[in-house]
């Protein structure tokens, strides 16, 4: 799956100077299976880009093409299918349900995708030091703990692109490494591309490309 951007410019950035950006108001392509780091200081539109690609924001000018189709033509049913089969995401704000346990949050996604068995989830949780978090309500977990649940949730589905919006902001070095290894492995398994946003330089993944927005 290839994302192609043509003169894309989101509404909030209309008044600002985007001449230094490699993405905004230019032609740009996210090639199949690439591992890409999106780098910028805050306020430059990293999250906005992720949200546009995931279909959450529609306030932009220019075009976004997914395998040649303009995404603003997609209806909600098409987006639902894409989000079950082709696009996975870890939101910056995670979007977990506080009244559900970690396990239930992951199941909620698994119900849609039926991608893997429950043992596989257990295994991923153990590898991220999170097995003990699964039976706790997400509302009482720390942000770092919740980040790990959200990552596991993103991995219980098939995808061509994994979008990670600052997914490790609250993880310590050890957990960070465990998480990155697991994600890289799962992406490889699916031969999927990865888009990771970061504030500064990082070398968590073997990036094919680092771009500045």
């Amino acid at each position: 799956m290839v994302f192609r951007l043509e003169n894309l410019l989101p509404e909030p950035l209309k008044e600002t100077d985007v001449s230094a950006s490699e993405v905004w108001n230019r032609s740009f392509e996210f090639g199949c299976g690439k591992c890409i780091c999106i780098q910028a200081e805050s306020g430059k539109g990293k999250t906005t880009l992720i949200h546009i690609l995931y279909g959450r924001r529609k306030d932009f000018s220019g075009k976004v093409l997914l395998d040649g189709e303009t995404i603003d033509k997609f209806n909600s049913a098409k987006w639902a299918t894409l989000r079950q089969r082709s696009l996975s995401i870890v939101f910056q704000e995670l979007m977990l349900f506080g009244e559900l346990t970690g396990w239930e949050n992951i199941l909620l996604k698994l119900r849609l995708t039926k991608y893997c068995g429950k043992e596989h989830i257990q295994e991923m949780a153990s590898r991220m030091n999170s097995a003990h978090l699964l039976q706790k309500k997400c509302g009482i977990l720390s942000f770092g703990e919740r980040q790990r649940i959200a990552i596991i949730r993103a991995l219980v589905q098939p995808f061509d692109w994994l979008l990670l919006d600052e997914p490790f902001s609250h993880l310590d070095a050890e957990n960070l490494k465990l998480a990155a290894t697991l994600i890289a492995e799962e992406c490889k398994k699916r031969q999927a591309g990865m888009l990771v946003t970061a504030l500064g330089k990082d070398s968590l993944f073997p990036y094919d490309q680092t771009i500045t927005v």
């Binding site: 909600s76 079950q84 349900f97 009244e99 559900l100």
Partner: protein
């Protein structure tokens, strides 16, 4: 069924709205269904009362008696154009005129000389007579007049006059065996004829003779035809509102017990209809509360709905889970309403039976109606849900 979706969306609903709406729906539906059953019962009772004699009913009408009639008898007659107007109404099937004697009649009992009385005769077209025996016809050469009298007259004699005066009660068969002599006179002429009661009429309170005889005798001994002052009309439904209005407008008086019953039945039907409407209003209000309740859930769970859609859930699956809950509430309430309705109707039927009206049929219409109303509410709610989620 996705219990997790249920947990996310429905933990946010106000319990009280649901209870109040459920109670409103239950009461409304109960009132409505009992009323529908009562309406059907009522219709059945009225139909059987009417069906005792014939499909259609007969009314005898005359102009209302006022002081004007007292002094000028011609005012009380129906003109040909008035009769024509009557017969052109589509709620009146046929009209017959009463002919009265324009001559003098006196009757003597053949077996008891000296007993003599003045009489009056009336006639109506044959088709209006109930229990018309074959011998009820005028054959001039036989010089015999067959007479039909009202059963009311016989009752009046047997239970009123005979009882108090110490006279023997007479069964109908006995009356029919007593011949009497009739002398008719007028225009300076006189003729003796024999006569006998041949039948009794439930329908027409009069002393009836064949119309042919009346026409002949009026020509011979009277002053010819005169405008009839009473008419008999055949109507399909004596309770018809248009009939009542027509008679009132024309100031015609009609005397019929069945018409009274139909009138009372009409009033009762109205009351029952109002009750049903009240029930319906309850149901509609409860629907509004139900719909608002689900709107409230959606607005409270705005973030959750957004998160679910971002996970890849469709709006349809979200509205479905809410509809499912609504369906369960509706079913529960429906079952409660139907059971209460069943017992209430049983009780009412017992009450009717004590008062002489036996209606033991539980109609299936209220049941069907209950399900239809619930299905309609489900439909409306799911449509509103889909619109809201869009």
């Amino acid at each position: 069924m996705n219990l997790l979706l249920w947990k996310i969306l429905l933990s946010r609903q106000g319990k009280w709205q649901l209870y109040i709406a459920g109670a409103g729906f239950c009461i409304g539906l109960f009132i409505m269904l009992v009323s529908v059953q009562l309406y059907l019962d009522l219709q059945k009772v009225l139909a059987t009362q009417q069906g005792k004699e014939n499909k259609s009913s007969y009314l005898i009408i005359n102009k209302q008696v006022t002081l004007l009639n007292t002094f000028d008898k011609s005012v009380s007659g129906f003109s040909a154009s008035e009769i024509d107007t009557l017969s052109r109404q589509d709620f009146i099937s046929s009209v017959g005129a009463f002919l009265t004697n324009q001559f003098r009649i006196s009757a003597n009992l053949s077996i008891q000389l000296g007993f003599s009385t003045d009489l009056f005769f009336e006639s109506v077209p044959d088709t209006f007579i109930d229990n018309k025996p074959a011998e009820f016809k005028w054959e001039p050469e036989k010089k015999f007049i067959p007479v039909i009298i009202s059963t009311e007259f016989l009752n009046l004699y047997n239970f009123g006059y005979a009882m108090t005066q110490g006279l023997p009660q007479l069964p109908p068969a006995a009356i029919q065996m007593i011949p009497f002599e009739v002398t008719i006179s007028g225009n300076g002429r006189k003729q003796n004829l024999s006569a006998r009661v041949v039948a009794f009429s439930e329908r027409i309170p009069s002393v009836l003779v064949p119309e042919d005889f009346m026409k002949w005798a009026n020509e011979e001994f009277g002053s010819g035809a005169k405008a009839p002052s009473r008419l008999i009309i055949e109507v399909r439904d004596a309770g018809d509102e248009r009939l009542k209005k027509f008679l009132d407008d024309k100031k015609y008086a009609a005397n019929s017990e069945r018409m009274q019953l139909q009138k009372a039945g009409g009033v009762l039907k109205m009351v029952v209809t109002i009750a049903a409407a009240t029930g319906l209003i309850f149901v509609i209000l409860s629907l509004v509360i139900f719909v608002l309740n689900f709107q409230l859930i959606l607005s409270r769970a705005k973030q959750e709905v957004d998160a679910l859609i971002n996970l890849g859930y469709t709006r349809l699956s979200i509205s479905r889970i809410l509809s499912l809950q609504f369906m369960m509430v509706l079913l529960l309430v429906l079952v409660i309403s139907l059971i209460s309705q069943h017992f209430a109707v049983n009780y009412l039927h017992g009450f009717f039976a004590k008062n002489g009206f036996v209606v033991a049929v539980q109609h299936t219409l209220p049941l069907t109606l209950g399900f239809a109303v619930a299905a309609f509410m489900l439909l409306v709610n799911s449509m509103v849900l889909r619109l809201t989620l869009r």
